[in-house]
């Protein structure tokens, strides 16, 4: 399991990484924690010619408060997210999601930016960000734009990132003390979700129920109209078209989405 040959450059700053990105164009890929990219390269599903390593770029890491939002640097590791006092107080759903990613080794390598940019619909952090109604900062030579989580995920492993753009930070609304629910259905402790459900403040996001982390809009609407958790959850799979694999077919995924959504909502009430 050895990747195809590639060149490697360590970026010194975010600006340097962006400059390298525009210089190498489509041939380059950003390397953060490497825990999604390197397996893909070893399986030869990806064969970038140049890797631009951002893992040690200081100005891309760190967690801070900006008004009513938390700002999380792109290279913040899952383990740091899970243990951060700030995140645990202001966005506990996100800290909890990060604590469930893979196993300790993976949590100490993988980054929030990498997880979001990789855009696996089964992953934890994309679902969490959609549930939280967060957004991402995408920076290129031309400047920085802010994209809402709902608009960021474009398809299976596809995002709104344009060539030459770097995901520099993640913004999450601060909601200290607001109840939330998080359900990840797995067979083994370190697996990806077969289906996941995250709920907070009337928003419900689902993992692995389509090509992107999706909102359970019918259930959200029912909640807004005053339905009980159980009644709203019955609508959780409406409008979804999940894929099929060795773990679950479409009907089972939809069933799980309803059960997990109910459990996530019941956790709140």
């Amino acid at each position: 399991m050895i990747p195809a040959p590639f060149d490697y450059v360590a970026a010194e700053s975010a600006a340097h990484a962006i400059e390298l990105l525009s210089q190498h164009g489509d041939d380059a890929k950003v390397l953060a924690g490497g825990h999604s990219l390197l397996p893909m390269m070893k399986l030869r599903l990806a064969a970038p010619e140049v890797l631009i390593d951002i893992a040690r770029v200081a100005d891309l890491a760190g967690i801070s408060v900006d008004g009513d939002e938390l700002v999380i640097g792109a290279t913040t590791r899952h383990a740091d997210l899970a243990s951060s006092e700030l995140v645990r107080a202001d966005a506990p759903l996100l800290a909890h999601a990060a604590s469930l990613v893979g196993d300790p080794q993976i949590r100490h390598r993988g980054t929030i930016g990498g997880s979001l940019a990789h855009a696996d619909p089964a992953a934890d952090l994309p679902m969490a960000l959609v549930a939280l109604g967060g957004s991402v900062e995408l920076t290129s030579a031309g400047g920085t734009r802010l994209v809402a989580a709902d608009d960021f995920f474009a398809g299976f492993f596809e995002t709104a990132l344009e060539p030459g753009e770097l995901l520099t930070a993640v913004r999450v609304p601060r909601r200290p003390g607001v109840a939330w629910g998080y359900q990840k259905f797995v067979r083994r402790a370190n697996d990806w979700a077969i289906v996941g459900a995250a709920a907070i403040d009337g928003r419900i996001a689902l993992a692995n129920m389509g090509s992107v982390p999706v909102r359970a809009r019918a259930a959200e609407q029912a909640l807004a109209d005053g339905a009980s958790a159980a009644d709203a959850a019955r609508l959780a799979a409406d409008g979804t078209s999940p894929g099929e694999d060795i773990h679950a077919d479409r009907a089972f995924r939809q069933h799980l989405a309803r059960v997990l959504t109910r459990r996530a909502l019941e956790h709140i009430s």
Partner: protein
């Protein structure tokens, strides 16, 4: 006090835990200096005719020294299946496929490079024309013979053990209740931590020296000689540390022979280590049977008739898997007394990875089928499954018991094992808890599974009675060396063999060096498999040690100018002394000063031994999601006397984990076109500590008379007992909701679907 039966710490572990093992890939032997690296081009298609194989682009790639396809090896003989007299001898294999590929992973060519990483780039440049043929994945497709893998054979059937025409229609006459069912015993991957590897070099003398992770250097040598068409004496196999094998590293595979062939062809040492992807698609898989059972008896619980019909998936080329129904049939009625029983089996080839031996090989399948059948019978008559078992177990026996299927059980007390396990589990309390949880109607329900087994260990090979040899030598400095024909790969023979010899010779365990796995040093040996090692290899060490004392006694008599009969050996001092005159003594080590002091001995057992036991599993099932969680596993595994409880428990732990994994998680899956869907550890869910409870092991030791140590095999008990117990516990957790069966692995989707179907049937019958 005897050292036998005590918890001596593994002498192997300090090295593994400090400097680490030396696996084949780690070897730095200077004979391997300048080695080239072999990488296999494997078929991406399950079944196809091979057209042109174009190696030219690969040959031009960086670092490529050579590339070969099947045509280059065409003068080597086609490999016949083992036991070609029994199996269809027309189902032959080439080291590299020539006319056809028959599974995804079938090797068609190799590229040889200077550095190991260059091979993976270069194989992408090999251009093979494949003319696809229909895949044969399903048992029924194989049996229909619509698409035939080996045209010369004219059939996909490798071997039949009995046939449907021989089944007796009257088998179930007089039964008040008869239940039948068809279910699978799914294909699983052995998945050792260390994948397959080889390093090979030919000497000036025309002899091959090759390092291969294996379970018996001698059988690996013989397989290689056959594949390379050379004399066995021209081949030396050396076994480095082996990182797990589970049956799949017995003998040698075509890849090992190709690496040796490349080394000879290029006049240069050659090395190979497969990737995990290659390991999951081309190392032999295990299990892969389909069972149709019929069981009948009286309403008060007597089982009167049992029929087992087996279809065995042999994979693309018949290996030992194709023979396994033989063992499954032999163990068909397990520990029970069933007046009328019959079992037949058919092995077929399919366009999938060949099936070999996997921990238990043939016996877990027998137990799984029988225990499932008993549960179905118990459910039908509404009787507690443990009671049904107790009622039908054979009574205790100390004289060998002959079964209708040709097995000769050496000794057993099956009901005692059942009672002990139920007591350790707190069975009555568990049933009470289950009843109250059922009554409360909670989402998470609890189930209890009980499985009784007897299995066969240490059977002989085709050539007859089980045998093993050992050499024990005492050195003048007080150390000793043991050469064994067995081949440990995790079992702890260095510790165990030293304990046995230490008991006889009075030399401390840490003074022993145990050696195995070099065919020049130890030309004869049966290796390690079928849980044979202690009962034969260990017994040989004991026999050689005792004989060494007798040899030394003669020398001591001469040295002390006493009569041999007057000498006593004192293990406490490792010395002979004249009876009544303890000062007139000579140390054993001193008797090795003038002349080497060693004995080579062959131990022959009267036959195989039959360990037995009972496993109880407790599982919780989330009735909404179908997810099962294993809460407890309690086992009684009686493998005769226990030499070292630490080692025996290790064998039980590992086996239970793998057995539970088959029930809960693991399955090799192919799509209808024969593409493997579980070719990485992201998709093939090996079990990990988080899915397992701590195991509760109760002890029971019924000696066997078949060897002086009184021991039977323990290596496979776990997979044999645990799989049905865990499957049964999961089904039991939802039995009150109308579920009678869930296929393995009991995935959430399968459990959920069974619940949905049971509830629909319940509704139907209510409305009817």
């Amino acid at each position: 006090m005897s050292i036998l039966g005590t918890r001596v710490l593994r002498t192997e572990d300090p090295r593994f835990l400090t400097t680490g093992g030396v696996y084949t890939e780690d070897l730095t032997d200077e004979a391997l200096d300048g080695a080239c690296h072999v990488f296999f081009v494997r078929s991406p298609i399950a079944h196809a005719r091979i057209g042109r194989v174009d190696l030219s682009a690969a040959l031009a790639a960086p670092g490529v020294i050579a590339a070969f396809s099947g045509a280059d090896l065409a003068d080597l003989p086609a490999i016949e299946p083992m036991m070609a007299g029994m199996l269809n001898a027309k189902m032959t294999r080439r080291l590299l496929a020539i006319d056809k590929v028959r599974f995804v992973g079938d090797p068609v060519a190799v590229v040889v490079t200077e550095d190991p990483y260059q091979g993976e780039d270069a194989v992408e440049l090999v251009d093979v024309d494949y003319d696809p043929l229909p895949a044969v994945v399903d048992f029924d497709d194989a049996l229909s013979n619509e698409t035939i893998l080996f045209e010369d054979a004219g059939t996909n059937v490798v071997v039949e053990f009995g046939n449907a025409g021989s089944l007796k229609p009257e088998l179930f006459d007089g039964c008040e209740v008869v239940v039948s069912h068809t279910f699978g015993n799914q294909r699983v991957a052995p998945a050792p931590m260390e994948s397959r590897a080889a390093a090979a070099v030919w000497g000036e003398d025309g002899r091959l020296t090759t390092w291969i992770p294996n379970q018996g250097a001698q059988s690996a040598r013989d397989d290689l000689a056959k594949m390379l068409d050379v004399e066995a004496s021209q081949v030396r196999v050396i076994t480095p540390d082996v990182g797990g094998a589970f049956g799949a590293k017995f003998g040698a595979d075509p890849e090992h022979a190709v690496v040796a062939w490349v080394a000879r062809q290029l006049g240069r040492p050659a090395r190979w280590t497969e990737t995990r992807f290659e390991n999951l698609i081309s190392m032999t898989h295990g299990r892969g049977q389909r069972h149709t059972i019929m069981i009948g008896g009286s309403r008060d619980g007597d089982v009167l008739g049992y029929r087992l019909e087996i279809i065995q998936d042999g994979g693309a080329y018949p290996r030992i898997g194709a023979v396994l129904p033989f063992l499954t049939i032999m163990m068909a009625t397990g520990p029970y007394s069933i007046p009328n029983a019959e079992a037949i089996g058919t092995s077929v080839v399919t366009t999938t990875t060949p099936i070999g031996a996997y921990r238990g090989a043939g016996r877990p399948e027998a137990t799984a089928a029988l225990e499932r059948a008993l549960d179905l019978f118990a459910a039908e008559i509404g009787m507690d499954p443990a009671d049904v078992r107790r009622r039908n177990l054979l009574p205790p026996f100390t004289e060998p018991h002959q079964t209708a299927f040709g097995a000769l059980y050496d000794s057993g007390d099956y009901a005692a094992a059942l009672d002990k396990a139920l007591e350790a589990a707190g069975y009555a309390d568990l049933r009470a808890e289950q009843a109250s949880r059922r009554a409360s109607g909670g989402t998470v329900q609890m189930g209890i599974g009980v499985s009784c087994y007897v299995e066969i260990t240490g059977g002989g090979d085709e050539s007859g009675a089980p045998q093993e040899n050992a050499t024990v030598e005492v050195h003048p400095d007080g150390t000793a060396t043991i050469l064994t024909g067995t081949s440990p790969h995790g079992q702890g023979h260095s510790t165990a063999w030293a304990m046995i010899a230490s008991e006889e010779l009075g030399i401390p365990v840490e003074n022993f060096t145990v050696r195995w796995g070099d065919t020049d040093l130890i030309p004869v040996g049966g290796g390690t498999g079928g849980s044979r090692s202690l009962q034969q290899g260990g017994a040989a060490v004991q026999q050689a040690s005792k004989e060494l004392i007798e040899l030394a006694r003669e020398r001591a008599a001469a040295a002390l100018e006493a009569s041999a009969a007057d000498l006593q050996f004192d293990p406490g001092r490792s010395a002979f002394a004249v009876a009544g005159d303890p000062d007139a003594s000579v140390r054993l080590a001193d008797l090795a000063k003038d002349e080497r002091l060693f004995v080579h001995s062959i131990f022959t057992a009267p036959g195989a031994t039959f360990p037995f036991g009972t496993h109880v599993a407790v599982a919780e099932v989330d009735t909404e999601t179908g997810k099962a969680v294993l809460r407890r596993v309690i086992t009684v595994d009686d493998a005769g006397l226990v030499l070292n409880p630490l080692l025996a428990e290790g064998q039980r732990h590992g086996g239970i984990a793998q057995g539970a994994a088959q029930a809960l998680l693991e399955e090799v899956v192919y799509d209808a076109d024969g593409n493997p869907l579980t070719a990485s550890f992201a998709d093939y869910p090996i079990v990990s500590a988080t899915e397992l409870p701590s195991f509760e092991l109760a002890s029971m030791e019924t000696p066997t008379s078949y060897n002086p140590l009184g021991v039977k095999g323990i290596g496979e008990a776990g997979t044999i007992g645990a799989t049905p117990a865990v499957q049964s516990a999961i089904i039991d957790a939802v039995a009150h909701l109308g579920v009678r069966h869930v296929e393995m692995p009991t995935t959430p989707m399968r459990v959920w679907r069974a619940l949905v179907e049971a509830s629909a049937q319940g509704t139907d019958s209510e409305s009817a």
